[in-house]
């Protein structure tokens, strides 16, 4: 389980779907096939990212790709918009910018 608080989203059915595992901030999290990354993270924990400007954790807002408040990072530095990304087995994401990598060259 993730370390950051309890699950925010509550599943209300459709739980017969196949399960898969993703990794969030190094911790394994269970999800279902067909979940968006946003749902996969928020059914395991309470937030997706932190505001860049110090006002706390964020957990998405519009869920329709408009507010841009759910961007997370892959472990290799790519950006993913969690509400429009469908999870795949083994996906590894970070909820904090991989500062050690940015912006140095590999």
């Amino acid at each position: 389980m993730l370390s950051f608080g309890g699950a925010r989203f509550q599943r209300l059915g459709e739980e017969a779907r196949a399960k898969l595992l993703i990794t969030v901030d190094g911790c394994t999290a269970a999800a279902h096939e067909g979940d968006t990354l946003l749902v996969a993270i928020l059914t395991n924990g309470g937030s997706l990212r932190q505001s860049e400007f110090g006002d706390g954790n964020r957990a998405g807002f519009c869920l329709m790709g408009a507010c841009q408040d759910c961007w997370v990072w892959t472990e290799t530095g790519e950006r993913l918009r969690a509400c429009t990304t469908v999870v795949t087995e083994g996906l590894r994401v970070l909820t904090k910018a991989p500062e050690a990598r940015w912006p140095a060259l590999a």
Binding site: E52, W71, R79, E99, R101, W102, P103, A104, L105
Partner: protein, 383 residues
């Protein structure tokens, strides 16, 4: 209609006009500042925000140095720093032939009091690890930097107003002339503004006004192509640019403390002074991004959230018009800054105020005199 009178009437409330108004007030001169839209809304407000001296036309460096000194005192002078960060400016080159060019420039710039460090490819990577592997050398100017163009000119405008200047925004001047001792500027709604000295700082619209004094100039308007990324951890402190002869390769970028990376460059777009609009063009943005990736490869993962353009004015020799009129006494010009006026803004204001107040300035500006565009058929100067 009410009649407005002052020692100096300034037409054009961009950075140059706002700064001149401020420095004229410090010299005790009464000032009217006329702006067709809002203060600092055109070239002054939409440019990249470079506070860069290196790479400039060498005879312009004394002016740029004077301006740089004022940038460092902005808070004390106008009450805010306009996010000025003297974080340095690095220009890299990709072409071995350019190394000689930057070395030679650094050598000559020394005579003007500008010390530049020439860095090898290895030194560039060591100092600035985010710069891409194609950079084979660099020229670093440690005391240059960047600031927020949206804030700088309006800050001077407000400071000028606080100091007693009369600011008139949304005031479009349709005619200007000199009758007797006074210049008379008339707005589209019929207001009249009088002063024994006039300063034209109207940017891309400056030519329309100089023409009324029979000093036409071959001025052209273009729009820069600017964009900004989402906020990223603040790591790129200096302004980063490319020294190249290939126009497509000319890109520059800077990261603001909040994290957004602002970039621009490449081939300029069209601008429409008559409707006061210039449009950012998607094609040009797409042409910039491969060059941005080349310059700072890690930016490939970032996303652009906004692009813009604005109206800049250019002259064929790529240097501005600055100084007294060649024909009319009491008339002064400072416009047409060819896309590199932002750094100069405070210095131009200070120099023009000195020139108008004292009749002379300690800073050499002769190369920018409007007389260089005078035609053979020009009639003798009015007195």
């Amino acid at each position: 209609m009410k009649r407005f009178q002052a020692d100096v009437v300034i037409v054009g409330g961009g950075f140059m006009g706002a700064a001149a108004a401020f420095f004229l007030r410090r010299r005790g001169r009464s000032v009217i500042l006329l702006e067709q839209g809002l203060i600092g809304q055109q070239a002054s407000g939409v440019n990249f925000g470079n506070v860069r001296r290196q790479g400039r036309f060498l005879p312009q460096l004394p002016l740029a140095n004077r301006s740089r000194e004022i940038w460092g005192r902005l808070k004390e002078l106008v009450g805010e720093d306009a996010e000025f960060l003297p974080t340095g400016h690095i220009r890299v080159c990709y072409d071995p032939n350019q190394i000689g060019v930057i070395e030679s420039y650094a050598e000559k710039a020394k005579d003007y009091g500008l010390d530049l460090e020439i860095l090898s490819a290895k030194a560039v990577r060591l100092r600035f690890p985010f710069i891409g592997p194609e950079a084979i050398a660099g020229s670093y100017s440690p005391h240059d930097g960047h600031a927020n163009p949206r804030l700088a000119a309006p800050a001077f405008g407000r400071a000028a107003r606080r100091a007693g200047a009369q600011l008139f925004e949304n005031t479009e001047i349709v005619s200007i002339g000199k009758t007797g001792e006074d210049f008379e500027a008339v707005s589209s709604d019929g207001r009249k503004f009088f002063a024994p000295a006039a300063l034209i700082t109207a940017g891309a619209w400056g030519g329309l006004l100089s023409q009324q004094f029979e000093e036409p100039v071959p001025i052209a308007a273009h729009g820069p192509q600017m964009a900004v990324t989402e906020p990223l951890p603040y790591r790129i402190t200096p302004v980063v640019g490319v020294a190249t002869k290939i126009p497509e390769e000319v890109v520059y970028l800077r990261q603001v403390e909040r994290g957004n990376v602002v970039f621009g460059g490449g081939i300029r777009g069209p601008a429409f002074p008559d409707i006061r609009r210039a449009y950012a063009l998607p094609e040009r943005l797409l042409a910039q991004v491969p060059q941005i990736r080349r310059l700072v490869p890690a930016l490939a993962n970032a996303r652009i959230i906004r692009s813009w353009s604005g109206i800049e004015s250019y002259l064929p020799d790529d240097i501005p018009i600055m100084g007294p009129s060649a024909r009319v006494s009491g008339l002064y010009y400072a416009f047409g800054f060819c896309g590199h006026g932002f750094q100069l803004g405070p210095g131009v204001g200070d120099v023009m105020a000195e020139l108008i107040d004292r009749g002379t300035t300690a800073t050499p500006i002769a190369p920018f005199h409007i007389g260089r565009f005078a035609t053979q058929t020009a009639i003798p100067a009015l007195t």
